[in-house]
Point group: C2
Chain length 469, copies 2
């Protein structure tokens, strides 16, 4: 097999033994595996040949992009690991049609840079942008902190090229904004975590680069009011809110304890702290007054003054310099660091209907305390899209207790019509939750589709689809 793979991609692009080591574990070290071989095809035709070979032999294939999964999405014991990293060409950046055409191995931050050079943005962004590849973003329908305004990865994608398990190449590389010609296979492949086909290229939407940005910290009266404030701000700025990130007091204190030089966001202490950012492409919003304040900042100021008056918010600070803005963002982006300082820990990545977010925190603590009276938590929430990264610290490292915590959170999420995986996908990590919590009929339909498209089950086996009960 190794020899025949070498004939397709060239011997130096087939890695085995110690050379395969970087492809034998996830970035966190939580999962480890022994691949049969790592193969690095140079183009779509080679991907096709590798899959045909593997499918004929019934050999599993796991596609890997930047290896930044947090769900064990690319464990690959005994499988061919297919790395997309050599398919790294940005084929086109067109500011006129606001489109980028890229190969699956392009690093997300490289696409950011290429778009920026044309005065455009590709809005998808998150912590791992320097190593995550576009193919992985598409396969997991990655989220991040701009979903509120620009949508998830699937909302930023017009077309894809996919290699099917048997090596056939499916050309859905459309640049079209309207196209109703049968079943939407693009959306089926996006988010399928490499279980139905391997995405090799994509047509992506670009957006114009904002000309003005304004950033603030506010303290809404409570979480119920916070959503109201978000709607008002969106109306006042013409849907200009890019980010609306909730940090409870516990996060602020965790950050103060962790980080030298960290400061309180306000003079007074508040339970509800929100980082918000608005931006605009309007040249009039970028006009600067005598104080050096942009019109957009003035608009935000006026709106926040109104909310202070009504009592919707108790406090507000607008960043007056890039340094102040950076300080606000650093507080938010330290979230993983702040959360990971303590053990034992149970993480989650949940989404709730927007009107259920406010009630979640009290309900969760109430139920969790009945399992463990000394339990505590820390969290950050993309409040605009209902996605809560909720992290629980039990008082003792007990697997039964941790399982109980997981199931309790799952149960509240299920009762609220929420999702047990907002943006991290299923992989192997959430297979058992998927079996317990996903609509049974939907699971059956997913399995039927998997069998129809990948009858030999060679693509990323053991992920996404739980075995039947």
């Amino acid at each position: 097999m190794t020899e025949r793979l070498a004939q397709i991609v060239g011997p130096k692009h087939v890695l085995t033994g110690s050379d395969a080591e970087p492809f034998s574990r996830d970035w966190s070290g939580r999962y480890r595996w022994s691949p049969k071989a790592v193969v690095r095809p140079g183009d779509t035709a080679e991907v096709s040949k590798v899959l045909k070979l593997a499918n004929d032999a019934g050999c599993p294939v796991v596609a890997v992009s930047g290896n930044t999964s947090v769900s064990g999405g690319t464990t690959a014991d005994g499988a061919i690991v297919l790395s997309l990293s050599r398919l790294n060409k940005i084929r086109k950046i067109d500011p006129h049609t606001q489109i980028a055409v890229v190969e699956a191995g392009v690093i997300l931050s490289n696409l950011h840079d290429a778009a920026d050079a044309e005065d455009m943005i590709f809005p998808l962004t998150f912590g791992a942008r320097g190593s995550a590849l576009i193919g992985g973003c598409l396969s997991t329908n990655a989220g991040g902190s701009n979903v509120l305004r620009y949508g998830n990865t699937r909302d930023l994608c017009l077309g894809i090229e996919v290699v099917l398990p048997d090596g056939r190449i499916m050309d859905l590389m459309s640049e079209l904004h309207k196209n109703n010609t049968g079943l939407d296979l693009r959306h089926l492949m996006i988010g399928a975590e490499g279980t139905l086909g391997i995405i090799t290229a994509a047509v992506l939407k670009l957006h114009p680069k904002p000309k003005a940005v304004a950033t603030a910290m506010i303290a809404p009266r409570d979480l119920r009011v916070a959503l109201e404030v978000l709607n008002k701000l969106n109306d006042a700025t013409g849907r200009g809110v890019d980010a609306f990130e909730y940090m409870p007091r516990s996060h602020i204190e965790g950050h103060l304890a962790l980080s030298k030089g960290a400061r309180e966001p306000f003079e007074d202490r508040h339970e509800v702290n929100v980082l918000l950012e608005v931006s605009s492409t309007r040249p009039v919003d970028a006009q600067v007054d005598a104080d050096g304040t942009t019109a957009l900042t003035g608009l935000l100021e006026a709106e926040l003054a109104r909310r202070l008056e009504t009592g919707d918010i108790a406090d507000a600070v607008i960043a007056r310099s890039e340094a102040q803005r950076r300080e606000m963002w650093e507080r938010r982006e330290a979230a993983a660091e702040v959360a990971y300082t303590r053990e034992p820990r149970v993480d989650s990545d949940i989404a709730l209907p927007l009107d259920k977010v406010a009630g979640f925190f009290d309900e969760a603590m109430m139920r969790l305390r009945s399992l463990d009276p000394e339990v505590s938590n820390i969290s950050v929430t993309h409040l605009g899209d209902g996605n809560i990264h909720y992290c629980v610290y039990p008082s003792r490292d007990d697997e039964t207790l941790k399982d109980g915590i997981r199931e309790t959170i799952e149960q509240i999420v299920a009762e609220s019509g929420g999702s047990f995986s907002a943006e991290h996908g299923i992989g192997v990590h959430k297979l058992s939750t998927m079996r317990r919590r996903k609509d049974e009929v939907a699971l059956d339909v997913m399995r039927a589709i998997k069998t129809a498209i990948d009858p030999k089950g060679i693509l990323n086996p053991g992920k996404v689809f739980p075995a039947r009960n």
Copy 2:
């Protein structure tokens, strides 16, 4: 069968013979058929029972909404016609979370009214809004004239409830903005034209109602410049352009000839005429000056003045009253009437990559003239999303000539990476085009999915999936 259907839905909701007549033809009279019976279930449970009965008997079922298809999407010879019209409850309109929960039989314009009462909009709109039902909009992923800003129907839908061919109910009624839990079955069902399951309810996104609207006719120098002008206007208004509709001189003249009291849009005659509308939720944009002009109109005026100066546009008129605005929209909305005055005629509903639209018209006329030197055309184009309603008049009523015209248009569309069905779907009308022009591998995957989900092939048979060559 009729008796058993009556046991499920009640005898007065099973129609046969002359009572079934309104469900035995499409609205245009182009297609006619003889259904076995028409059944009107009152809720999802009854839909489920009807499908189980039909599936066990191997009897075809065709779901019908408002019967406004232009592609013969609901022809139903010998089939049970399943009308969704009694599932007509609007369950929730929530301006706080900006969500509507509706049943599939809700009339689109009823949802418009209900949203309006809460100071919200459901942006999807098109000519047939007074009879089209939400279920049909979802099943065909309907487009319309606001796609540029708000997307197609699928972009406005967060969740659906679907009854599968065997009667099982699949609950995907999510209100979530982030949810990565396996294959995206929502997007698979949307646009499937009732061939995989029957959508019975949906969670839809609402948007805040704009506080200011400004409408104008402009004459861009040429179509290449028009897209540039659109981008500039979108930047200047913060992505505020709702509509950007191109009408060539031939449409203007057709409208003048057809409509008493119709007037020229400008003093001079121009080849490229564009109706544009911008809107804003910003209260500051709704502020009125001494002349009664809103700030948004002032912004549009300033931007158009700049474009007149650079020569990007040759002429511009801004509507100064609701009457003037209506006159502009009536000219555009007369499109079907203008096009349908002449016979013989070949219609099309194509989409092109945005940078291919400008070249299409010359290329098409050049090639069509080699088939018929006296051929002429008329068209309207949603320029912001590349969707051209292109209507050709051959000099004689000859089926071979008309087929030649169809294939010529298809060929140019294929060469440009375009779509032969932008927003009207496949139905039976475009089955042969689907066979000729759709990616072969994609067709195979579609057929495999159809067989996996509807193994007996009872749902809307003979649509969407062309037989193998």
